[in-house]
Amino acid sequence: MNDIFSTLQYYFSHPFVVYALIVGLLIALCSSLLGVSLVLKRFSFIGDGLSHVAFGAMAVAAVTGVTNRMIIILPLTVLSAVLILRTGRNTKIRGDASVAMISVGALAIGYMLMNIFPVSSNISADVCGSLFGSTSILTLKQSDVWLCLAMSVVVLVFFVLFYNRIFSVTFDESFSKATGINSDGYNLMIAIITAIIIVIAMNLVGSLLISALIIFPALSAMRVFKSFKSVTICSAVISVVCAGTGIILSILCSTPVGATIVTADLGAFLIFSIIGTVMSKKRVK
């Protein structure tokens, strides 16, 4: 036991580990809040699609060799979010198909670019790093932490101020429209913010596992809780706890950060599913 504490103490004496923890918890918090709305609106796939786009965008950024990759990744991903939302409605290619198309397309282009214009000698490590999250969470600069902090504050303020309207739009778009709430505007906002979170979260868990951060906490909370408010709060708590546990475990057992966090989320989901089943059985009796 003392061993564990001294190991942790050793690691947390380094600022980059502390940065990683702060960024990780913030991302987990933001993604879980949005996740509730996305899962309920049947938009879970957007997260998945956008994460692949972000991967493609990152390959483009790497090839162009700009110093601050965010300049390319962020606008491209936000643009795709808007596109996916628009095509989801009234075009010949249906919503789910268009997402699948955009996401595999971006994945293929990204991988191809990385192969044609290799930035380092070890391509497969590069690809693996961006898909499954690398140690890059431990190489965060202070500026990255500030960016993440600012984005998180924006997301949190948006979510708190518009909480009631987000609820209304999520629950019933036609009614919201009829009562004069600009539901298309809110959908757009949600998509854009999702894109921002995904780009930030790519450092933490990698682009393949981001959807897990968005959907698992919300799904777990929905197994047990019965009101929108309790689901939202519980999902935030689950997500933060799992991210914290995941990061610390990954330090102690030297496992990959992203995969450990997602496994923790999966564990939470199983536990909450069991609780939910037991509770509903009791109610029937």
Partner: protein, 238 residues
């Protein structure tokens, strides 16, 4: 009886064509208007036009006096998203008040009071902490009715409200709507269910690609359109 909506020779549709035209009808305060028509006859387009979400192509839809589209409480059809939505009854009813709040982010006590009154009126105050997805179909419709009343108290616009309910719940919902109508709330209901329309409504609007009939219920039953439609329903699947 003051007029609330006057629709004169309106045509509705999208950029690529007219869905329904020749709409000529008047809704007065306290009316119970039932809009009948087959699928694709332009009922949902008419609803959008009444709610002010879709302008008419030609003709005129006019709100009279101080009545406006904001005074219409809307009960949309249920979507698959809602069936397993984790939300309490209270949260849903309160969300009807959002239109009254301007840019305020949170509910004030005034909104909570309106929500409480409407839950009482519809007999759902004792289930206000329950989860929406655990309710019966009839209870769910009452919750949505209460929400609509929070948004507007002069007129209710109901889109096929009894779809998917069992016969007992259907009758209960019709009685509840009739009770609200007696309190002076104007009702506009889009429906397939012609026998109930004839039983409860005061006026009937029957549309196909164009308006087939508008008038009181008594006239409708005698009209050739009404007779044909009534016979086909009774002789049909019921």
């Amino acid at each position: 009886m003051s007029e609330q909506i006057i629709c004169s020779n309106a045509a509705l549709g999208y950029e690529d064509g007219i869905v329904t035209e020749g709409l000529d009808f008047t809704v007065s305060s306290g009316d119970y208007l039932c809009i009948l028509g087959e699928n694709g006859s332009g009922k949902s387009t008419l609803i959008k036009a009444l709610l002010g979400l879709k302008p008419q192509i030609s003709g005129d839809i006019r709100f009279c006096g101080d009545f406006s589209a904001k005074d219409i409480g809307y009960l949309p059809q249920q979507t698959p998203v809602q069936r397993d939505f984790p939300a309490s009854v209270e949260e849903i009813v309160l969300s009807g008040c959002l239109s009254k709040m301007g840019f305020l982010p949170f509910y004030r006590s005034a909104e909570k009071k309106i929500a409480a009154e409407n839950m009482k009126q519809l007999g759902i105050e004792d289930i206000k902490k329950r989860c929406y997805r655990d309710l019966s179909g009839g209870q769910q419709q009452r919750v949505l009715l209460a929400r609509a009343l929070c948004a507007a108290s002069k007129m209710l616009l109901l889109d096929e409200p009894v779809t998917g309910l069992d016969p007992i719940a259907q009758t209960e919902l019709y009685e509840m709507i009739a009770k609200l109508n007696k309190k002076g709330i104007t009702i506009i209901m889009v429906s397939h269910d012609i026998s109930s329309a004839v039983k409860y409504a005061s006026h009937i609007l029957h549309i196909s690609k164009k308006q087939l009939f508008f008038g009181t219920k008594a006239d409708y039953v005698k009209s050739s359109v009404g007779r044909r439609f009534l016979e086909s329903e009774v002789g049909g699947d019921e």
